[in-house]
């Protein structure tokens, strides 16, 4: 094989690399609400943050909760910030029912039901359909603030 021909083949291969590279650039699918991993946690809010969770969607309210019994820390995905307008505070006790997953050495929970301040917020239905995308937005218990 002539060196020029070898160089040509190499050039073609190099040119093909970005194409392959782009195919290999994986889109990380966000975890979904999996009812198989549903559990209830009860703890205290350590921090409140807003994070983008889904592509092209509004930031979500995230509660960093320290579980009361085990001391484990969970990042609880509540709902888009615009949807949840109840005032939560650090140190407040909450109970969350949701789907849990583990990622980057952190425990996450996608909240379906949130209980705090004597009120219960239904954030998703039993199969994980988000209340802010339609359906019945429910709140039960003692009314305080505007809630949902």
């Amino acid at each position: 094989m002539k060196p020029a021909r070898v160089l040509g083949i190499l050039a073609c291969l190099i040119a093909a690399v970005p194409g392959l590279a782009s195919r290999a650039s994986s889109r990380q699918s966000a975890p979904f609400y999996n009812i198989d991993t549903e559990k209830q946690i009860e703890g205290t809010i350590r921090e409140l943050v807003f994070e983008p969770r889904y592509q092209d969607k509004a930031p979500f309210l995230i509660l960093i909760i320290e579980e009361m019994k085990t001391g484990e820390v969970f990042r609880a995905e509540i709902s888009p910030a615009w949807f949840f307008d109840y005032d939560l505070h650090k140190g407040e006790s909450v109970r969350v029912i949701g789907s849990t997953y583990f990622k980057d050495e952190t425990q996450y929970i996608i909240a379906r039901r949130l209980q705090c301040g004597g009120e219960t917020y239904f954030l998703r239905d039993s199969r994980g359909f988000p209340s802010w995308r339609g359906g019945q937005m429910k709140r039960a218990g003692r009314h305080r603030g505007r809630g949902m």
């Binding site: 650039s25 994986s26 889109r27 999996n34 889904y54 998703r124 199969r127 994980g128």
Partner: protein, 416 residues
């Protein structure tokens, strides 16, 4: 047929029509719904087959599942989809709703499509295997819905509810209206039947009474003649007694005459007469019988009122009314007020006397009905008969202890 029966008579057909409409519409909608569902299932199967061919091809080309799903984002009828490995672990997924992929371990064994209810409607799910050319098996999980079809079905249901509600409302209003009209018509018919029965009864009584009066009057005339003869022949010591007997016989004859007169059909001889004259003549006649100065007398008319009526009958009528008024009034006033209103003459004869008990009021115009010890119950009956013979009406209002008012309505302009 009355009350409940009548209501059922009118409502039963309507309810029947509603039930038929409801059943027909429900069956129709259920048929459309099942056809729509069948269409969605077919669409889902077809879409899944196309997807599987494309996915197998793209996976063979080395695309990662996450990137492949990105290519299918924005498909109108796909709510979510996922690629699973041969052990049915989710490799990648994509959903129109944040975090919503209703797939669980319970669904991993499914081989047939299934329907999931969600707040946005029914979602048709399907889990089906596909494989690459090298034999590697994957699964495609697809959530599919024809939203337009769902909206169409929902709209059809809404339209049905609206039409049904309107039908019910209009039907109820219409049939209630018809029912009320029918009820009024029946009430009128019953009234007319009652009046007819009353007339028939009265005709029989009249015939009987006339016959009795006739039979009594003949011997009474003979008796009167006998007393006439006796009066000239008896000694002067008993002449007064004979005269008294003769007077009593005349009294009986007068009573019989009154009975007969009251039963005879009236044939008024009409003439234009001032009402004031009639009322004054009636009052004078009454005062000749029994003067009463204790009770105040009032007569008023805005403008002179003229009646086209039989003068003597009208005098008789007002005489009877005024007699009643004076007899019922110990102190206070008896008044007659007259006015014309829309080609009608209204005359009110009022007193401030004892009044009439409510239970007696409906019967006071009945013949031979009286509350007086010496009355015959003919006066008011005759008054009504005279007024009706002139094409008029008479009514009464009374409050016990406060007085009574008779209102006479006669045809005619009244003024000249």
């Amino acid at each position: 047929m009355r009350g409940k029966g009548l209501l059922l008579f009118f409502f039963s057909p309507f309810i029947g029509i509603l039930v038929i409409f409801f059943i027909f519409s429900t069956l129709n909608r259920s048929f459309i719904q099942s056809k729509a569902e069948s269409l969605v299932r077919e669409q889902l199967a077809a879409t899944a087959e196309i997807f599987k061919v494309n996915l197998a091809h793209l996976l063979e080309e080395g695309y990662l599942p996450e990137d492949i799903l990105g290519m299918y984002e924005g498909e109108e009828n796909i709510y979510y989809l996922a690629i699973l490995d041969e052990k049915k672990n989710i490799l990648a997924w994509s959903s129109r709703y944040e975090g919503y992929l209703p797939f669980s371990s319970r669904d991993s064994g499914r081989t047939e499509p299934w329907v999931l209810s969600s707040p946005i409607g029914k979602i048709y799910n399907r889990l089906s295997p596909f494989h690459r050319n090298d034999g590697q098996v994957y699964y495609l999980y697809l959530g599919y819905s024809l939203r337009n079809l769902e909206e169409m079905t929902a709209r059809s249901n809404r339209d049905f509810l609206v039409i049904f509600s309107v039908l019910v409302a209009v039907g109820v209003v219409f049939f209630l209206g018809v029912f009320e009209l029918q009820k009024k018509y029946l009430a009128k018919t019953e009234e007319a039947e009652e009046a007819h029965r009353e007339k028939e009864r009265f005709r029989e009584i009249s015939a009987f009474t006339s016959a009795v009066a006739h039979e009594i009057k003949n011997p009474l005339n003979s008796l009167s003649l006998l007393f006439e003869l006796l009066q000239g022949k008896v000694p002067s010591s008993v002449r007064d007694e004979v005269a008294l007997g003769k007077a009593e016989i005349r009294k009986i004859a007068r009573i019989i005459d009154r009975f007969s007169d009251s039963l005879r059909p009236l044939r008024p001889k009409m003439e234009i007469t001032p009402l004031g004259e009639i009322v004054t003549a009636a009052r004078d006649a009454l005062f000749r019988e029994a003067p009463n100065t204790e009770v105040e007398w009032r007569y008023s008319e805005a403008r002179p009122v003229f009646l086209n009526a039989d003068r003597s009958l009208m005098i008789q009528c007002f005489l009877n009314l005024l007699r009643n008024a004076y007899e019922a009034t110990d102190r206070g006033a008896v008044s007659v007020e007259a006015e014309t209103r829309r080609k009608k003459i209204l005359v009110r004869v009022s007193d401030t006397g004892r009044g009439i008990e409510p239970e007696r009021l409906p019967r006071i115009f009945d013949p031979f009905f009286t509350s007086k010890e010496r009355g015959m119950g003919i006066g008011l009956y005759l008054a009504r008969k005279i007024i009706e013979a002139h094409g008029g009406r008479i009514g009464v209002e009374s409050r016990p202890g406060r007085g009574t008012t008779f209102t006479i309505q006669l045809p005619g302009g009244g003024h000249e």
